[in-house]
Symmetry: D2
Subunit: 359 residues, 4 copies
C-alpha cells in the first residue's frame, strides 16, 4: 500500500533501483490529450543521472516505452502504462551492504516492516522511483498546459547559500541555464562550487526547491482534508529526502499580525478579482483563488556519502558502512523536475475533481 | 470530496459553523476498544472556545453524543457516529457579511467553487469542524494507548517569541498548566501577555505547535507516496490556518552536511536498535524507526480581526469588512489538541495498514 | 471497513437496529441541487415498517433530520448528514437471543469476526440500515431527475408467483397502488394473499424485485472493473437478503445464440442511435448505451420466522431459537424503494465520474 | 477510472488487445510469499487462446515478465509489475471495422464516452485484458494456498445443456481433463459437440461457470456494502460477457420458505461449528461462515460471430459488419481460470482487510 497517488488522475508506480525496470500506470487521464512523447522524454532527461559532475555518475538513458492507453497520438481515456528499463545496474556494487543498515537510509525500516528487502541500491526506497513520477507528471503538465497552467521550480537554497529574492524578483527563464537550476546566475555559480567542494570531501549537503504555479483558476482544491496545499504538501513530502514544506508566507508568516498578513481583495481594470498581497500563496480555505501558488520544499543532505560510517548489520553486529558507489552530493538540481511533476499531478487531479463541484 | 481521511481507520466529518451541528463517522476502528467517553470529552474540552480571555468567547459546551458503533462500553467494529450540536450560533452576527469576501478567508473561493455558500461564520470552512477531528482523534489515541504510543503537542512559538529548547529539554507535563499550552512557564507568561496585547489591538498573530510521538514501533508508514511524514504533513496542513510543516531536522537541516546529519545505528544494552542522533525525526524512508517522531506546524495569524478592512462583495463592489464577532487572537493554544488528534489519526491508520505488510 | 459506497457521490452509513439512531453522510453531492425534503421523506415512508399487515409491525416514523450541507434550500457541495432516530426499540425483545446464533442470520459471523456484537435486532446487520440508503438514494434521485433519468422498481415474483410480462408490457404506474408493489393488480392480489398465508404460518418467503432505468444517456460506467452493471450488481447484492442479480438477458440469455442475442444498431427518424432489441440491458462493455437499463434482484426468504428452530449458542451448547419479535414475512414490497435508491446512488456516481472522461 | 480492483490486495490492469502489451500492477501483496512463476504461467496457459478447436485460433504464448516486487524468489511487499507482450496482433484484420459499431460490442459506447477509441480488436474492451487478471489472481491463489483456501471453477452449462448435479456430487478433479472444463465427462462431450456445431455455423452460444471455494475461515467480508458476496458479484460481473451472478440458493431460493431455507447450526465431533444445510452459500450477513462458498456466473453468447450483421458506422450510415477474424464460439471454457482468478483476488483482499477487525 502507498504506491498510488491521486483520486481521479491517479498514478501507480512500481520498480526498484536495480530490478528489471521501473514504471507507472496513469489512470483517469482524460481522452483526447495529444501525447507529446518528446516533451515527456525531455522531462525525464532533466531528471536523469549524469548531467554534470555534481550529479551521480550512474548512466541511465531513462528512455520510456508506452505500453497502452495511447492510440494515433492521443490518450484514449484508458490506463497509460509507461516503463523505463534499468540499464546501469551494477548490482555487485551493493553486495557489500547486503546485510548492513546504512545510516539514515531505509534499510533498517524496510527490513523491520517486510522481513525481506531488495538491498541493491536501496531497492524500492531509491530515488530512482521518481523517474516514474516525472514521466507521469509530464503528462499531467500536458493536460494543464491546455488549461493555461504553468509550473516552474528552481533551486533557492544550497546549504546556507540562500536566494534573497522572491520568485517574482527572479528571471525564472534562467533556471535551466546552469547545472544547479538556480535562476540567479551568480548564486548558481557559488552553489555549484560549493556542491563540488562538498563532493570532493565525499560528503553531501541539503537544499531548498521553490516552486511557483501560474494560471491556475480559482476553485481547485477540496475542503476539508484534501486542501490544495495539504495535497501539495503530501506530494512534496513523499519525495525522497524531503524534510519540510511551506506555502505562501510559510514559517515566516507566523510572526506577522493578521492586519499585516491578510490579503485585501480588489477588482482590476478587467473586472477580475485579485488580492493586493499574496501571503495566502494563492490558496484560501484550501482552494485556489486565482493568484500565483508558491511554496518551498526542504531537502536534507542525502544519506549516501563517500566516507566510512559506523553502523550495525542485520545480525546486530557492529559494521563499517564503506563509502562506495555513486551518489548525488546534493539532490536539489535533479529534484527540480520532480517537484514540478508532483505539483502537476496534484493540480491535474484537482482540476478533474472540481468538475463535480456543481451540477 | 475531501471530507474523509484515512485508509483503514477512516473518518468522515460533516457540519458547518452555524448549522444544526457537526460530527464525524469513524469507520474501521477495530472492535474491542474500551470506549472512554470521559477521555474523549476531556479532549474536546481542551479544544473548546472560551477557555481563557485569549481565546474566542463563543460559548459551546461541545458535548458529544454517540449514535452508533459502541455497545456495552466497547467498540463493535462498526461505524461510530459522534455528533456535537451547535449551541451559540448567533447567526445574525453574520448577516452583515453575507455578500462580502472577508480578506484571507474562504468566502471568495467557496463562492467561486460552489456558486453557493453558507456564509454564517465561514460555514464549512470554519475551524469549528476541527472539533469533530478532536473527537475522532481521541478515539485513535485510545487505540494507540493500548499500543504504548503517546502523543504530546505544545506551543513552541507565538509571533517572534520562540522556545530555544528542544522537546527533549522541556518538561512537557507543564504544557497543560497554562492557557497558552507552552511547557516553559516563563515563556508561557510572555506569550500570554503578547497575545493579550494583540487581542486588545483587535489584531491576531501566528505561532508554531510542536509535537512529539513516543513509543511508536518501527515499521509504520507506507512507501512511496504514503510515507509516514507525508501523511503527517497532509494531516497537519489540512488544519485551518496552517502554512508549513517540517519534521526531524526540517528546514534547518538543509544547511547540514550528510556526515553531520546521518543518524548512526547502534545496539543498546537491551539489544534494541537505536540511532545516536535523531535528525531523521524517527522516520527513515517514510517508515518509523522506533525513535521519537517529532515535527513542527506553522499557523498563520487568523484572518478574523477586529479592524475594518477594505474588500469587495459578490457584486464586485468595494466593501468595508467590519471587525465584529468573536475570534481567537492566536489559534495555537487551542490547536494543540487538534495537532495531537490528527497525529493520532495518522498513526492509528498506519498501525492498521501495517498489519498487511507480511503474510 | 465496508460502510461506504461510491467514488465521487459517496455515502457512509452508520447505525444499528436498536442503537440511538441511524444515518448517512453524503459526500460529493454537487452544489446547487434543490433539497426537496418532502420527496426524501416520501421515499423513506415507502420503505418504513408497518405499511400493511404483510410487513413488520415495528413502529417507526422514520423521520429524518438534516445536520449539514444544505443552506437556504440548496445543497452547498459540503457533506450532507442525515440522521433518523430509532424509536420503537424494544430491546428487551432480544435479551433471549443475546447468546444465541439465529439460523441464517449474521449473529455467528459477526461474533467470529469482531469478538463482540450488538445482538439487539441484529445490530448493524439489520435491514434497518437500509433506511439510510433510501434517504441518500432519494437525494441521488433528485440529482438524476435534473438529468432526465427515472428509476422504477417493482415486485415481479413472490415465491413461485412470477410475472410473465416484461417491464415494457406492464403499466408501472400501478406499482404503488397495492401493498405488494406489483404493477399487475391481479398478480398483486395473489401475491398478497400468499404472503399473508405464509405470515399466518409464522414463515417467510422470497421474491424478486425488477428495476428499469429510463433516460440515462450513453457513456455512464467505467471500464474495466467498475462496469455499470458490475456496480449495480454490487449495490444490489449489498442489500440484505439478496442472493442474485442479472441484467438484460441475464441467466436466460446463456441459452441463446449470438445471432439471436446481438442487438443491431439503427438510426431513428431523429437521427438518434438505438438498438432494435435490448438483450444488452442498456449496457455494452460496461457503459450505458442510451437504451433502457433493466435488471432483476433475487431476495431469499428472510431468516426470522415465528417458529422454533434448533441452533447453538456462544458456548457451543444446543439452543432453541424461539419465534418471537416482529418481522416481514416477505421483504420484497419494502425492498422496492431500496433497490431504486441503490440504483440511483450507482448512477449519480457514474454521472459524476463521467465528467472526467474527456478533456 | 475503473481499472483498479481491491482495497488492500489491489490490482491495476492496463493494455489493449492490439497494443504493445497488457499487464498488471499488484499492490499490497504481503512480503514473504514464495513467487511461483511456473504456477502463474500455468494459470495463464489455462486461459490462453488456441487450446482446442472450440477456442479462438489467435496465437499468443502469454508469457509474462516480472518487472518489480520480487527478490530472491519472494515477494518484497512492494508493487509487483507483470507484463505480457502482445504477439499475434494482426491489426490489419480490424481496419474494415475501424468506423463500424459492431452489434453488442463496446465500439459505440467507448466512442460516445471518450470521443476516441482503439478499434483494433475491441482495444481496452477486449477480453484479452483478463490475462492480466489471471496472472494477478494466480498470485492471490498462492497467498490463499498458504491459508488453506482452494478455489475450483467449472463449466456447468452451455446453451441449454445444464449439469443437474451440484458441485458436491461432481468429481471436480475431472474438470481439466476435457476442453470444455466440465467435470462430468459425458456432459463435457455433449457440450463440446454442441459448441463445435455452433462454431461451424459461424455463431456463438452462452454458458454458466460455477465455482466453489473451500477452506475459507469464518470472518471474511465487510458489512455493509462490501459484503463478501457483493464483491464476488462485482468481480464476476466485471468479466467480459457476464450477465448474472447468484450465490448459495440464488434465484431458485426465492421460491423456498424461510423454514426450508434457513441453515441450522450444529457442533461437530471436533467442536467445530457448522450448518446442516448451506443455502447461505457459506456467507451470512456478508461474512464467510466457514462453509463452502459457491456461486454461478452467467455468460452471454459472445458478440463476435462469423455472420454478416446490419449496423451503422460512426457517420450514422448503415453498414454491414462482416463476420471476419478469430473468436471463441463459447467463452466459458476459457472463463474458468478467470472466474477463479477474480475469486482469488476478492478473497485475498478480504483476508487482509479482516486483519483490522479486532485490536
Amino acid at each position: 500500500m502507498g504506491s498510488t497517488y491521486g483520486k481521479i488522475f491517479k498514478i501507480a508506480t512500481f520498480g526498484e533501483s536495480h530490478g528489471a525496470g521501473i514504471g507507472v500506470i496513469i489512470e483517469g487521464c482524460p481522452a483526447g490529450i495529444a501525447f507529446d512523447s518528446d516533451f515527456i522524454q525531455s522531462e525525464l532527461t532533466r531528471r536523469k543521472p549524469g548531467q554534470s559532475r555534481i550529479t551521480t555518475q550512474r548512466k541511465e538513458a531513462d528512455e520510456f516505452e508506452v505500453l497502452s492507453g495511447v492510440f494515433e497520438g492521443k490518450t484514449t481515456g484508458t490506463p497509460i502504462a509507461l516503463i523505463i528499463r534499468n540499464e546501469d545496474q551494477r548490482s555487485k556494487d551493493y553486495s557489500h551492504i547486503a546485510a548492513q543498515y546504512r545510516p539514515s537510509h531505509a534499510d533498517y525500516t524496510y527490513q523491520v516492516k517486510y522481513g525481506v528487502r531488495d538491498y541493491r541500491g536501496g531497492g524500492r526506497s531509491s530515488a530512482r522511483e521518481t523517474a516514474a513520477r516525472v514521466a507521469a507528471g509530464a503528462l499531467a503538465k500536458l493536460l494543464l498546459m491546455e488549461m493555461g497552467v504553468s509550473i516552474q521550480a528552481y533551486v533557492s537554497q544550497v546549504g546556507r547559500l540562500k536566494l534573497a529574492k522572491t520568485y517574482a524578483e527572479l528571471d525564472l527563464t534562467e533556471t535551466e541555464n546552469n547545472a544547479v537550476r538556480c535562476p540567479d546566475p551568480v548564486m548558481a555559480e557559488q552553489m555549484f562550487e560549493y556542491i563540488d567542494s562538498v563532493r570532493k570531501q565525499g560528503d553531501s549537503v541539503g537544499g531548498v526547491v521553490s516552486c511557483v504555479i501560474k494560471g491556475a483558476p480559482a476553485g481547485w482544491g477540496e475542503p476539508v482534508f484534501d486542501k490544495l496545499h495539504a495535497e501539495l504538501g503530501k506530494a512534496m513530502l513523499s519525495i525522497n529526502a524531503v524534510k519540510g514544506f511551506e506555502y505562501g508566507s510559510g514559517f515566516e508568516g507566523v510572526s506577522l499580525l493578521g492586519s499585516q498578513h491578510n490579503d485585501a481583495f480588489y477588482i482590476d481594470d478587467n473586472q477580475n478579482i485579485h488580492t493586493r498581497t499574496n501571503h495566502s500563496g494563492g490558496i484560501q480555505g484550501g482552494i485556489s483563488n486565482g493568484e500565483d501558488i508558491y511554496f518551498n520544499v526542504a531537502f536534507k543532505p542525502v544519506a549516501t556519502i563517500m566516507q566510512d560510517q559506523e553502523s550495525i548489520d542485520q545480525n546486530g553486529d557492529i559494521a563499517v558502512v564503506q563509502g562506495k558507489g555513486r551518489h548525488d552530493p546534493c539532490v536539489v538540481p535533479r529534484a527540480v523536475p520532480i517537484v514540478e511533476g508532483m505539483a502537476a499531478l496534484v493540480l491535474a487531479d484537482f482540476y478533474l475533481r472540481n468538475k463535480s463541484s456543481r451540477i
